[in-house]
């Protein structure tokens, strides 16, 4: 089989514009909880843009200049917003049982994004360059050493921490979130649990 033909056929079917960017949604998509995902993404965009400016200017800049401090504040608060909305999204999706009907991969990718997000934020906290960074570097070294990942990661090596924070982990995070989004759009949002005792209960109960 021609791999190119196969890939094109599959992409055409699974990743059609009707799925990726639909202009219609099922009528049950009618609640604020559906917006937590897009709020999370919006926060991430602000995190990334402010982070790119900070990376372009250097850690000394964001610690010592007035404009740099403002960008550090933007980065700080957008990270807070990112985790707030991501946590709300996660909790709500749990109560919606949103792994049902072939959406397990979507859930797994979302959970992995949360985990990688935590690691990315942690390396960011260690890159602030203030007492908080200093203290948590010496404290977390015992945790990383004790857990046995010391050969992979030296929490006292600012070069490694900064590189992980601005390149490696964001690349993984963006890839995971991108894949998560494609998975969401490919399958569509999860339908409601069937209302027990009705004919409707027979439809869509594959939990």
């Amino acid at each position: 089989m021609n791999w190119t033909t196969r890939m094109r056929k599959r992409a055409t079917e699974q990743l059609s514009w009707d799925r990726l960017l639909p202009s219609e949604q099922p009528v049950y998509v009618n609640s604020l909880v559906y917006s937590f995902g897009v709020f999370t993404l919006s926060s991430l965009v602000v995190v990334i843009v402010s982070g790119i400016v900070m990376a372009a200017k250097s850690p000394v800049w964001y610690q010592t200049s007035a404009v740099g401090e403002y960008f550090r504040a933007i980065h700080f608060w957008s990270v807070q917003a990112f985790f707030f909305f991501m946590t709300m999204h996660l909790v709500v999706q749990f109560f919606m049982g949103s792994w049902r009907e072939g959406r397990a991969l979507t859930w797994v990718l979302g959970a992995l994004s949360f985990g990688v997000g935590v690691l990315t934020a942690f390396t960011g906290y260690l890159s602030r360059g203030d007492f908080f960074s200093q203290w948590n570097q010496v404290q977390s070294k015992d945790a990383f050493n004790g857990a046995g990942v010391n050969g992979l990661f030296n929490a006292l090596d600012n070069g490694q921490i900064y590189g992980l924070h601005i390149a490696v982990l964001p690349a993984v995070l963006i890839a995971l979130i991108g894949w998560h989004l494609v998975a969401v759009r490919r399958k569509g949002v999860v339908p409601p649990y069937p209302d027990e005792g009705t004919e409707n209960a027979k439809v869509g109960d594959h939990s």
Binding site: D18, R19, P22, S23, E24, Q25, V27, Y28, N30, S31, V38, F39, S42, S43, V46, Q63, E69, A73, I74, H75, W77, F83, T87, F94, M96, G97, W99, W107, A111, G115, V118, A121, Y125, R128, D130, F131, F132, S133, Q134, W135, Q137, V138, Q139, K141, D142, G146, A147, G148, G151, N154, G159, Q160, R185, G188, V189, P192, D195, T198, V203, S207
Partner: protein, 329 residues
Amino acid sequence: MKRDYQYPDAKRFPMKDFDMVKEGVVSLGVIAVIVLVVAAIAGAPYRPAVTNQQVAVQSPVLVEQTALGDLDGTGEMASYGPPYNDGTGSIQSIAGFSPQTWWGTPYPLNTAKDDVLTPLTMLATASGNVSLKQALHTYETASGATQAKWSQNLTDALNKAKVVGTTVQLPAGNYGPVSYMMNAELQLARSGLLSGALARETNQGAYRWNVQNNLLFLQGAALHNIAGALNMSGEQWGINHDEQAYPGPWWLTPYTFFYQIPPWNTSDAGDQMAAYTVGLLFLVLIFVPWVPGLNRLPKLLPLHKLIWRDWYRRDKPKSEKGSVAPRHV
């Protein structure tokens, strides 16, 4: 008409217009404005990092005690173990399982040489200080027993030392060259040059990426005293909170929680246990779709009825009439 390339539920449920692009743009605009305004009003937490110089000025005895512990091998870092050296003091192990030891010593630290002897040798060379050079020679050529005796005497004396001006005054005693060396170390720290001398050791060249030895010199009582006063030590929920009035990394709460309760906060392998416990919980989160019981829990809890209340309300009359919902195409 439902096209083949629409996602499956488009064929099963009634649809309504939905402008995803508009939702995204409005959301991004609203979040960006809120963040920019909050950042302008509230700023961000920042407390300047602590330097060896500050500690030397504020707690000169502590610097001498730290340097002496590094020199005679009684300091925490001197006997830490992997990944820094061959000690065993901070090796964590759960029933013999200790991956901390698997990597050997990739970030070598010899506290006597790295924290004291090398910086003081550099100081003696830079300042042309013949007395210091002689003191170092005397120390390094003395027997281990003699070195230990001097160190023990000075350890005891430092507990009774007084600070007068910029110097630490000791009671008379037999400290050999060690008291002179420790005073030189203190003055080096006071000058601000000790940090540079330590940081150069872990970088093998002109650049300064790795601040390991500089931070490890401070990592004991020096930083713990400051962090404790700010309620930031591990048993005070440590990393979970930032400077007062600012939210911290609250998403680490499940991890930090274990440091507050036994057996995690009483075990020598507490860090290892906390890491594995959180790792296990994370695996459960990832595999929720396949965990029996947990994957059906949301169906039993009434919250989904609240989230989809409009749908269930809409569906009710049809269901009660026995219609075959919801294939509203």
